[in-house]
Amino acid sequence: MSTALLLAIGGLTAVGLYLLTGRSLSRIVLGYSLLGHATVVALITAGGPAGWPPIAGQAAPEDMSNPLPQALTLTAIVISFGLTLFLLALARRQRTLSGDDLVEDDLEDRRIAAVESGPTEPEDPAAT
């Protein structure tokens, strides 16, 4: 297994996870795309060393690449592509509703904070 590929997986995952923890949805979209690439590289690496294209009659079977992880990878790419588009649509909707694409505070946290700060500060879900 190639060290370069392993480093690529690790790097993509680290950057992807970092972006995913951001508050802006456009960062999350980028983070998710990078994580998607990391899984694709991981799946390809799982198939063993690279070889000739797996087409019958063109090379000896032991010299070919393993085609199964490639099939899995294609499926994963298609799914992550669709989901990236959905995330972008969600970010756009959030922008239309609130003027930015930031993930909002947890509703429950806000409610508890309102309770703890006492009755002087009335709970107003429309204002937050």
Binding site: L35, L72, I79, L83, L87, L90, V103, D106
Partner: protein, 493 residues
């Protein structure tokens, strides 16, 4: 048998396409959706009869060998859970048709087809025999759930939908990494072959894979501490959608864990899982007690009840697994019914908030009865199905000497009863707050909603009535999960 398995997966997909094509014709669209969901549910019932009589049936899709292709496996476990799940979706869709024209209804042009896609994913998740197809099935379920959850596009849905989507995307990414790890370690993703090869791996690698998939499936199942996305997102969706999500989605995660961790022999993780189960039960129910909205209370109970199934699984005994399977069969309809009753309360009271409702028992005694039966069942009061299921899980834990988890289970049971009593006091007794209310569903729609809920309540009573038979079947299913030899033999003849 091959036809039945295909029908359960492909039928709803075809119906989704038809109902999208017919989206401007309400009658044709509804008929397409109901036909797709109904035929899949019917097929799954016939499948159960066949599997109980003839044993496991496998379909190699496209005739590929199990090492290379997709294998669908209808074993007793899958055949037992599938009819329950598909029948629930069918009944909920009938309820949704009655709920039209109220402010709480989902958009029928979208929700019908998407519910069909979700159904297809649920069937595939239960029937698949390999890990990667399980991933695809999860994605089918999740993609339709993302859209169902946010399709009305209002503020609370978008903001809580984001948490739900991002959390589940992360879990899906981890799932794919897990598939890559498993493939690197064993060279296959077929579950029967994995059941042979994973137990032979080094202890570290084996437990690493087990723990990794515990996190993946645990996020989907909302076990402690991975549950935070659930109570925020579920209550914002239309009631019918929440009923399907609460009844099915987290259970698909539990189902996958029962199958994966039993087949792969992950007994060493048992003690940690028992602790997680105890925390899930108690934290979930404590969260429920702090809420003041029917849908939010019920969402927290989803988490608490997941703990019981997780506890049965964590024991890694035949009795424990059988208890978990029986609990699944009991819990799916009960939870869905409670959310449907939540929808009825919303319709009659104008809101699902406890503060704004009251005195419903006098005005709608039928709704009160339809709430009381599943609520007592959820709390585990005899003679309802919850009692039988809890007894099976708890007695299995007592046999293993798990004192802490048994105490946690009993405490959580008591608190569940208190929480149900709180809903009863505030909604069905007491006085109704004044204020403007949205107009309820028209008479005909109301009758459809009541009929669908009554049908589902009758279903939960059937589970209690046939509890003995179901426990026997669950024990058979658990035995074959605990001894994977028969599963392996069925996939590789």
């Amino acid at each position: 048998m091959t036809g039945l398995i295909s029908l359960a997966i492909v039928g709803p997909l075809v119906a989704a396409a038809c109902s999208l094509a017919l989206r401007s014709q309400p009658l044709g669209r509804d008929i397409a959706v109901l036909a797709g969901l109904g035929s899949a549910a019917l097929a799954s019932h016939i499948m159960l009869v066949n599997v109980a009589r003839d044993g496991t049936h496998t379909v190699a899709v496209g005739g590929w060998a199990p090492e290379l292709g997709i294998v669908l496996v209808a074993d007793l476990f899958a055949a037992l859970i599938l009819p329950v799940a598909l029948t629930i979706i069918f009944v909920v869709e009938i309820f949704a048709i009655g709920q039209r024209r109220t402010v709480w209804a989902a958009n029928p042009q979208l929700s019908g087809p998407l519910l069909c896609v979700l159904t297809s994913g649920v069937s595939l998740a239960f029937l698949t025999g390999d890990l990667f197809t399980l991933f695809v099935a999860f994605e089918l379920i999740l993609v339709s759930s993302y859209v169902l959850l946010t399709h009305q596009g209002n503020r609370s849905q978008v903001s809580s939908g984001m948490t739900y989507v991002v959390m589940n995307l992360l879990a899906s990414t981890l799932f794919l990494f897990g598939v890559a790890f498993v493939y690197t370690a064993t060279g296959t993703v077929n579950m029967a072959l994995l059941a042979e090869r994973i137990p032979q791996l080094d202890t570290g690698v084996r437990l690493g894979i087990g723990a990794w998939f515990l996190v993946v499936f645990g996020t989907k199942a909302a076990v402690f501490p991975l549950f935070s996305w659930l109570p925020d997102s579920y209550p914002t969706a239309p009631t019918t959608i929440t009923a399907v999500f609460a009844g099915l989605l987290t259970k698909v995660g539990i189902y996958s864990m029962i199958r994966f961790h039993n087949l792969m022999g992950m007994e060493d993780l048992g003690p940690i899982m028992l602790l997680v189960a105890a925390l899930t039960m108690v934290v979930g129910v404590l969260g429920a007690l702090a809420q003041s909205d029917v849908k939010r209370i019920l969402s927290f109970h989803v988490i608490s009840q997941i703990g019981y199934m997780f506890m049965g699984l964590s024991l890694f005994t035949v009795a424990g697994t059988a208890g978990a399977i029986l609990f699944l069969i009991h819990h799916m309809p009960v939870k869905a019914v409670l959310f449907l009753v939540g929808g009825l309360i919303e319709n009659h009271e104008g809101s699902s908030s406890l503060d704004r409702s009251g005195g419903l028992a006098a005005r709608e005694p039928l709704v009160a009865v339809m709430f009381a039966i599943p609520a007592l069942s959820l709390a585990g009061i005899p003679p309802f199905s919850g009692f039988v299921a809890k007894l099976a899980v708890v007695s299995a834990a007592v046999d293993q000497g798990g004192a802490v988890v048994v105490v946690a289970a009993l405490v959580a049971g008591g608190l569940t009863l208190q929480s149900m009593a709180k809903i009863w006091n505030e909604v069905f007794w007491g006085r109704r707050a004044d204020g403007p209310r949205p107009s309820p569903a028209p008479r005909r729609g109301r009758r459809t909603m009541h009929a669908a809920t009554a049908l589902a309540v009758a279903g939960t009573l059937m589970v209690a009535l046939f509890a003995g038979t179901l426990l026997d079947l669950s024990t058979d299913a658990a035995e074959s999960l605990r001894n994977p030899a028969s599963y392996i033999a069925a996939v590789r003849p």
